[in-house]
C-alpha cells in the first residue's frame, strides 16, 4: 500500500491509524530478525501516536500524512526515541528534541514506527559497518542492502514501512534505493532542514525520501522541504510538482560513468531506461565528464575533514560509556573514543584530521574545495544545455556481505556515480531500472538546483512504463 492510499483510507474511515500501525508493526517485528532493518522498533511510541491521531481525526485536523507509518534513519534526532547513529558511542542516547523534519512529519500526522539501521555515522555504502550488525538485502539475504541508509531502504523494500527517511552525504539514499528496487531522492542542498540530522559531512548531506512509489516521494517532499530558521544553510524554496510529459526532455549521458569500472549489465539496464524515455520523446546525447576521475578523492577529503570535527563531541563525557575517572581527562577521551568508534569511523576521523592539519590543509582540504567548485561549475554548465544527467546509481549490483568490507577503497567505489550530486549540491534521484539475476539495479538522474519536479516527472514516466516498483521480494512474504 502506498502512503497516498493509506491517507485516503484513513480519511474515509475505512482504516484507523491504529489498524495501520498494528499491521506494519506486525510485519516489522516478524521480518526484522531476518533483515535487521531496524535498530529500534518504536512500538510504544507508534501505538501512542496512532491513538492520539484518532482523537485528532475526530476533531477534524487531519494532515497530509495522516496515519502513515514512517521508518526513520537512526541519524535523525527523535525526541524520546533512542538515536544511535549505529554507533556504540551513542548507545543509550535519547534526544531531548525532534529534528525539524520529524516535527513536520508529526504535524502532518505521520507516525514514526522505528529507527533504521545504517553504516555507523553514515560512513559507508553497504550498511555492514553498523555496531548493530549488517542489514540484509530483502532481495537476497546474502547480499548487502547498500548504504548508508540501508535500513530505510530495506524497511521500505520489505514493506515494513510504506515510506522512509534517509540521509544522503555521497549517495547514502540513492545507493540503497537502487539495491532495494525503490525510489530515493537526494534533494537540492539547502531545501530540507538539517536541524536534528546528526552531522557527518554538513556541507554535503541532505535528508530525503525513500519510497516505493514516485507519488509518495513527492508527498514526502511536500512535507519535509521549506525554510527553517535553525538551519542557516537553507535556501528559499517551496517544493511543487505537477507531473507532465517527458517529451523534449534533454538528457546528458556522461560516458565516463558507463565505461571502465562499471558492470556492463548495469550499464545496459540504464541504457534500457534511456531508450525507454527516448521512446517517449526525450532526447539524449553522450557527453564527456573529464573530472570524473577526481570526484571520489574530492568527496572523501571534504567529507572526512568535516567528519573529524563533527565527531569530536563524542568524548564520553555526555554520551557513550561512562568515562574513566581514574584517568586524566585527555586519556579518558582517547580510551572512550578508541573503544566507542568503529574502524571505518576512526579511519575517516584520522584522515580528516590529517587533511586539515597545519602544512597539509592547502595540499588537501583547500585543494579539494577548489576541485569541488570546478566540479560544480562543470555540472552546472552541462545542465545549461541539458535538463538531466543520467548515470547508473551504482557501478555494480548488490554485492555479497563481507565481500568488500575489508577493502575500504573497493567500498568507496560504490559512491563514484553518486558523489557528484552532493559536491554540486544538485538534486538526484535513483529510480528502479530492473534486475540482474534477481538483484535490483537503479538509474540515477541529476537535475539543476531546485529542479526536483523534473526528476519526479522522469521517475514517474519510468514507473508507469516499467512497473518495477510493484515487484516485491519472495523473501518478505509472510
Amino acid at each position: 500500500m502506498t502512503a497516498k492510499q493509506i491517507v485516503k483510507l484513513v480519511l474515509t474511515g475505512s482504516l484507523s491509524p491504529v489498524d495501520v500501525v498494528e499491521t506494519y508493526l506486525d510485519r516489522a517485528k516478524k521480518l526484522n530478525p531476518k533483515i535487521n532493518a531496524f535498530i529500534t522498533i518504536a512500538e510504544e511510541h507508534a501505538r501512542r501516536s496512532a491513538e492520539e491521531l484518532e482523537k485528532r481525526l475526530k476533531k477534524g485536523f487531519p494532515g497530509k500524512l495522516i496515519g502513515v507509518p514512517i521508518a526513520v534513519k537512526d541519524v535523525i534526532s527523535t525526541k524520546g526515541i533512542e538515536t544511535t547513529c549505529a554507533s556504540k558511542i551513542l548507545k543509550g542516547y535519547v534526544p531531548p528534541y525532534d529534528a525539524t523534519v520529524i516535527r513536520r512529519l508529526k504535524a502532518e500526522g505521520a507516525i514514526i514506527i522505528g529507527k533504521t539501521n545504517m553504516d555507523e555515522f553514515a560512513m559507508g555504502s553497504s550498511t555492514e559497518l553498523s555496531a548493530y550488525g549488517p542489514t540484509r538485502n530483502p532481495w537476497n539475504l546474502e547480499r548487502v542492502v547498500g548504504g548508508s541508509s540501508g535500513g530505510s531502504g530495506a524497511a521500505v523494500a520489505a514493506r515494513m514501512a510504506p515510506i522512509a527517511l534517509g540521509s544522503d552525504t555521497g549517495g547514502s539514499i540513492r545507493c540503497p534505493a537502487s539495491f532495494c528496487n525503490i525510489v530515493g531522492l537526494k534533494p537540492t542542498y539547502g531545501t530540507v532542514s538539517r536541524y536534528g540530522l546528526i552531522s557527518y559531512a554538513c556541507s554535503l548531506e541532505q535528508i530525503g525520501p525513500m519510497t516505493v512509489d514516485v507519488n509518495d516521494c513527492a508527498l514526502l517532499m511536500e512535507v519535509i522541504t521549506g525554510k527553517d530558521c535553525f538551519d542557516s544553510t537553507m535556501i528559499d524554496y517551496k517544493f511543487k510538482w505537477t507531473p507532465r510529459e517527458v517529451k523534449g526532455l534533454r538528457m546528458a549521458v556522461p560516458k565516463e560513468f558507463f565505461g571502465e569500472g562499471t558492470d556492463e549489465r548495469v550499464a545496459n539496464r540504464v541504457w534500457d531506461i534511456i531508450k525507454l524515455l527516448e521512446s517517449h520523446g526525450a532526447i539524449y546525447e553522450e557527453i564527456s565528464f573529464p573530472l570524473a576521475r577526481y570526484v571520489l578523492a574530492c568527496y572523501y577529503i571534504i567529507a572526512m575533514s568535516e567528519a573529524s570535527s563533527n565527531l569530536a563531541r563524542y568524548d564520553g563525557v555526555r554520551y557513550g560509556p561512562p568515562c574513566d575517572l581514574s584517568l586524566p581527562w585527555y586519556d579518558s577521551y582517547s580510551k572512550i573514543r578508541g573503544e566507542g568508534f568503529g574502524i571505518e569511523v576512526k579511519r575517516r576521523i584520522i584522515l580528516g584530521c590529517f587533511a586539515l592539519s597545519a602544512g597539509y590543509y592547502g595540499r588537501y582540504y583547500l585543494k579539494a574545495l577548489k576541485l569541488r567548485t570546478m566540479i560544480r561549475n562543470h555540472v552546472l554548465s552541462i545542465l545549461k544545455s541539458f535538463d538531466v544527467i543520467v548515470t547508473p546509481t551504482t557501478p555494480f549490483p548488490p554485492f555479497k556481505i563481507g565481500e568488500r568490507v575489508e577493502d575500504p577503497l573497493a567500498l568507496y567505489m560504490a559512491d563514484v556515480d553518486t558523489v557528484v550530486a552532493n559536491l554540486a549540491g544538485v538534486p538526484a534521484i535513483s529510480v528502479p531500472a530492473g534486475f540482474i539475476d534477481g538483484l535490483p539495479v537503479g538509474a540515477q538522474f541529476m537535475a539543476n538546483h531546485c529542479c526536483e519536479d523534473l526528476l519526479l516527472t522522469v521517475a514517474k514516466c519510468i514507473q508507469d512504463e516499467t512497473n518495477f516498483h510493484t515487484k516485491v521480494s519472495k523473501e518478505v512474504r509472510l
Binding site: 542516547y93 530558521c229 542557516s232 570535527s309
Partner: protein, 480 residues
C-alpha cells in the same frame, strides 16, 4: 637593565553583555547566577544534530566596536571552526574566526603620564565563549571536574593588538580605554565578573615571545605582565635563553606557570564552519551604524574640557569610566558648579569607590543626593571637610545626606559668638601657649588647631583663625 626594550601585545576577550541572547542560539545571554546547566539548549550543548544559527545583533554590535577602534571592516566575514579538545567546549571545537575576520587594521590612542601613544589593532573578531570548568575545592584537591555550560555560546568579541605596548602601565591604560569605549558603545559591561578577559604576549629584547593565558580580569594584567618581565629579565641576566612558550597566570599565587608541551604545540585545524554561510556586510549597514555611533571617550574628553572648563587630566579620569563621567555630568546638570563637582567626583568619590572596590553603579544614591550634599556646603550648613565624611557615610549606608548630618549632629559652626566661646576656653586652658604666641606668631596656628579640636572640627577654620589672630593682636597691644 631598564632600557632593554619590552614588547607587549594583547588579545582581549570581551563578552557582548548587552545582547539578549547567545551568539548561535536563542538562550538568554544573562547566564550569571543561574543553577548550573539550566541556561542551555541543544545548540549550545552541542547535542548531536543541532546547528548554530547566528544572532545578527551580535554582528551589528561588533561592527560598532570595530568602527570605534578605527578598523577596516571586511565586507565578507566567515566563521571558522577552531578544533581542540577541552571539557568546557561542548562540541570540542569553538566557532571563531580566522581568515576574513570582521575587521582589521585599527588603532586606539592611549595616554600615559600625559603623553599620547597610538596602539595599533590587528584584528577584531566574533567567537563563542566556552562553558565554565568548576572544581570541587581547588584544582589540586578536586577528585573530579564539573562543567557548567550556562556560559557556552555567549557572544565574545576578540580584540587583538599589535605588540605596541612597552610597559605594563601602557597595557593597563589600553585596557582601560578599551573598556571605556565598549561601555560608551553599550556593548559590554566590564563590571560583570569574567566579562573581560585577556591573553598577553610579551617579549624582551634578546628573548622569544612568551604568551600568558588565563588572565581573568583586566586588573590582573598589570600584575601578570610585571611578574613576567621580572622573570624574563632574571633569566637573561643569568644568561638563560627565554623560550618561546605559553604560560598560565596563576591568580592565587601570582606567578606564571609553564603549560605542558602538548598544549603548546596545538594545531587547531581551522576550517570554514560549514553550518554557517559567509556573512555579507553591506556598505549601507556600516554607514547606518556609523551614523548612530554614540559619543566615544576621546570626543567626550574634548567636550568636557570645552563645556565645563575641566583640565585634560580631569576629563581623562572621568572618561576612563563611562559611568563616572555620566555621574559627573548629571551632577553638574543639577548642582551647576563644574569645578567643585568634578573635584568631588574624581577625588572623593573615586577614592571611595576604589577603596571599597565597587563601581559607580553599585552606589545606593544618585547625583541628586550628592547635589544635596554640596548644597549644604554652599549654604554653609556643613564644612567641606564634613561633606567628605558625609559622602563616605552615604557610600556605606546609602542614607540621604541631610539625614546623616542630622543624626550625626554634623553642622558647621560659623557664628562668631559661638566660636568665641571656644576661643575663651582654649585661651584659658593654654595660657603658656598664649604667652608664647605673643612673641612667636607661628604659635597662633597651634591655638587655632586646639579650638578646632574643641569644636570637633565643626568650626569654620577661616573664621576661627581670624578670631584667634585678633585676640592675640589685642593682647599684644595691651601688653605694650
Amino acid at each position: 637593565m631598564s632600557d632593554i626594550k619590552v614588547k607587549i601585545g594583547l588579545e582581549c576577550h570581551c563578552q557582548m553583555t548587552s545582547l539578549k541572547t547567545k551568539l548561535f542560539c536563542r538562550c538568554p545571554a544573562d547566564y550569571r547566577g543561574k543553577p548550573p546547566n539550566t541556561n542551555v539548549c541543544p545548540t549550545c550543548l552541542g547535542l548531536p544534530g543541532s546547528l548554530p544559527y547566528l544572532n545578527r545583533r551580535a554582528v551589528e554590535e561588533a561592527i560598532k566596536v570595530a568602527l570605534a577602534l578605527n578598523c577596516k571592516i571586511n565586507r565578507r566575514m566567515v566563521f571558522y571552526r577552531k578544533n581542540y579538545f577541552y571539557p568546557d567546549l561542548s562540541k570540542n571545537f569553538q566557532i571563531s574566526q580566522y581568515d576574513y575576520p570582521l575587521a582589521v587594521d585599527g588603532q586606539v590612542t592611549i595616554n600615559v603620564n600625559g603623553t599620547d601613544k597610538v596602539i595599533r589593532i590587528k584584528r577584531v573578531h566574533i567567537e563563542e565563549d566556552p562553558g565554565r570548568i568548576v572544581y570541587k575545592g581547588s584544582i589540586e584537591s578536586s577528585p573530579y571536574t564539573l562543567v557548567d555550560y550556562n556560559r557556552m555560546g555567549i557572544a565574545l568579541l576578540e580584540v587583538v593588538t599589535e605588540p605596541d605596548m612597552e610597559t605594563p602601565t601602557e597595557a593597563k591604560a589600553f585596557l582601560q580605554e578599551l573598556r571605556s569605549i565598549l561601555e560608551h558603545l553599550d556593548v559590554s559591561d566590564g563590571s560583570l565578573e569574567g566579562s573581560m578577559r585577556c591573553d598577553a604576549n610579551i617579549s624582551i629584547e634578546g628573548g622569544s615571545r612568551v604568551e600568558i593565558k588565563n588572565i581573568t580580569s583586566f586588573k590582573e594584567v598589570e600584575r601578570a605582565l610585571s611578574y613576567e618581565i621580572i622573570r624574563q629579565r632574571n633569566l637573561l641576566r643569568r644568561g638563560v635563553q627565554v623560550k618561546r612558550e605559553t604560560r598560565h597566570w596563576d591568580e592565587v599565587r601570582r606567578v606564571t606557570v609553564a603549560l605542558r608541551a602538548k598544549e603548546e604545540e596545538m594545531d587547531y585545524r581551522y576550517f570554514p564552519e560549514p553550518d554557517l554561510v559567509p556573512i555579507e556586510i553591506a556598505d549601507e549597514m556600516i554607514k547606518k551604524i556609523k551614523e548612530q555611533l554614540p559619543e566615544l571617550p576621546a570626543t567626550r574628553r574634548i567636550r568636557l574640557v570645552k563645556q565645563y572648563g575641566l583640565t585634560e587630566y580631569e576629563a581623562r579620569v572621568l572618561t576612563s569610566d563611562k559611568h563616572l563621567a555620566d555621574f559627573f555630568e548629571k551632577l553638574v546638570s543639577i548642582h551647576g558648579n563644574p569645578k567643585i563637582d568634578c573635584n568631588l567626583v574624581i577625588n572623593e568619590l573615586l577614592r571611595l569607590l576604589n577603596e571599597k572596590n565597587i563601581g559607580v553603579r553599585d552606589l545606593k544614591f544618585t547625583p541628586l543626593e550628592v547635589s544635596e550634599l554640596l548644597r549644604m556646603v554652599d549654604e554653609g550648613t556643613i564644612s567641606w571637610k564634613s561633606a567628605k565624611y558625609v559622602l563616605r557615610k552615604m557610600v556605606e549606608t546609602g542614607e540621604h545626606p541631610r539625614k546623616i548630618v542630622e543624626i550625626e549632629g554634623i553642622r558647621r559652626i560659623a557664628s562668631i559668638e559661638e566660636i568665641e566661646k571656644y576661643v575663651d576656653m582654649v585661651f584659658e586652658k593654654y595660657r603658656e601657649d598664649v604667652e608664647e604666641a605673643l612673641r612667636e606668631p607661628k604659635v597662633v596656628h597651634k591655638l587655632v588647631g586646639e579650638v578646632l579640636k574643641e569644636t570637633k572640627m565643626l568650626a569654620d577654620p577661616k573664621i576661627t583663625f581670624q578670631i584667634v589672630s585678633k585676640r592675640i593682636e589685642k593682647l599684644r597691644e595691651l601688653k605694650k
